[in-house]
């Protein structure tokens, strides 16, 4: 298997692509992460079937929310009879981190009008944010960035939808011991390691984990967002100290 060097050592899928094509570069860079998303999508589809959803209802959840963890949680809470307000509040808390991704996305596409930036923001999630954030350090042209982002995002959505459809139909046949539930944490851990480019990033990651453990008890579902914000402040302080 051949690999190529990419900015900040992005993972490669072992395929030879024309580096001048943002479409192919986006597809190539996202492939390993999309593959990691597959088992998670299977698990969501399986959960939807177990909760008694129709396939149309499951697909509505995938298309409207476009966020796996929040979709899975809303399926389970709804099936358990939770109040709609409680389900929506939980979704809001779980997806609050997307506001931070939106801020980053806004900096990538400053040359675009607001309506186009908002359209692109509809599908920002953990995986395409991280992959694009790394790649855009060396890709300045807005048009190329849009094509790269579109290729990466559409690939993710294709895997997300297909995985859920398959999981809906055959998920119950997959044994628990295979560890499908672990696919997302493993993928995120891999991305985290790649994101640790320097001391400020390491400070942010360490503080985030520590703060989450401290704040989960008192804050519950809000702990993730608050921990991330505290960690970013700590990382910014480390960055300032480094530059001083």
């Amino acid at each position: 298997m051949t690999t190529t060097t990419t900015p900040r050592n992005l993972p490669t899928a072992g395929v030879s692509v024309d580096p001048s094509s943002p479409w192919l570069a986006g597809l190539k860079d996202i492939t390993p992460f999309a593959a990691s998303l597959g088992p998670f999508a299977l698990a969501i589809g399986s959960a939807g079937a177990a909760a008694g959803l129709t396939l149309a209802e499951l697909m509505a959840g995938a298309a409207f929310v476009l966020a796996g963890a929040a979709q899975l949680t809303s399926i389970e809470l709804n099936a358990a009879g939770a109040a709609p307000v409680a389900v929506l509040a939980t979704v809001a808390l779980m997806n609050a981190r997307f506001a931070l991704y939106g801020a980053g996305l806004g900096t990538w596409f400053t040359a675009l009008p607001m309506r186009k930036r908002l359209a692109l923001a509809f599908a920002i999630v953990d995986v395409n944010y991280l992959v694009c954030d790394q790649r855009f350090a060396t890709m300045a042209d807005t048009g190329e960035r849009v094509r790269y982002y579109a290729a990466a995002t559409l690939s993710l959505i294709a895997v997300f939808i297909t995985g859920q459809v398959i999981g809906y139909h055959v998920g119950a046949a997959v044994p628990d011991g295979i560890g499908l539930h672990l696919a997302a944490p493993l993928a995120f851990a891999g991305m985290l390691v790649k994101a640790l480019a320097g001391r400020p990033e390491m400070v942010a990651a360490t503080v985030a984990a520590g703060a989450l453990l401290v704040l989960t008890g008192p804050l519950g579902g809000a702990a993730l967002l608050v921990s991330a914000l505290v960690a970013m402040l700590a990382g910014a302080a480390a960055l300032n100290a480094q530059e001083a």
Binding site: L66, A70, A99, T107, L118, A189, G235
Partner: protein, 105 residues
């Protein structure tokens, strides 16, 4: 509530969240702050997500599934050595299977 309506409302809320700092970040006063903090978003959020997945459960704070913790650590070490994020899955899942087969978890 009808699940489709519930998901539609969840989608509206989620899009509002995604769009909030796209709109707010357009203000000149916030642009510098957003730009300087953006590189820290990924490590901060990913670390919190991984810690939450591994160390927070209905029973409280702590490793509810030690095999999963070992698998993720093994996956992270593999990524650090190999430089390919996909390695986390390739290494982590077999380690998880081995740990559960050995009764850890």
């Amino acid at each position: 509530m009808n699940p489709i309506l519930l998901f539609a409302l969840a989608g509206v809320i989620t899009f509002a969240i995604r769009a909030s700092l796209v709109v707010a970040g357009d203000r000149p006063a916030l642009q510098g702050v957003v730009a300087s903090h953006a590189p820290l978003v990924a490590p901060a959020v990913l670390s919190a997500i991984v810690a939450s997945a591994l160390l927070v459960s209905d029973e409280g704070i702590g490793p509810a599934d030690p095999a999963a913790v070992v698998a993720v650590i093994a996956g992270a070490v593999a990524v650090h050595r190999q430089g390919n994020a996909f390695t986390a899955l390739l290494v982590g899942l077999p380690v998880y299977w081995a740990c559960t087969a050995l009764g850890l978890g």
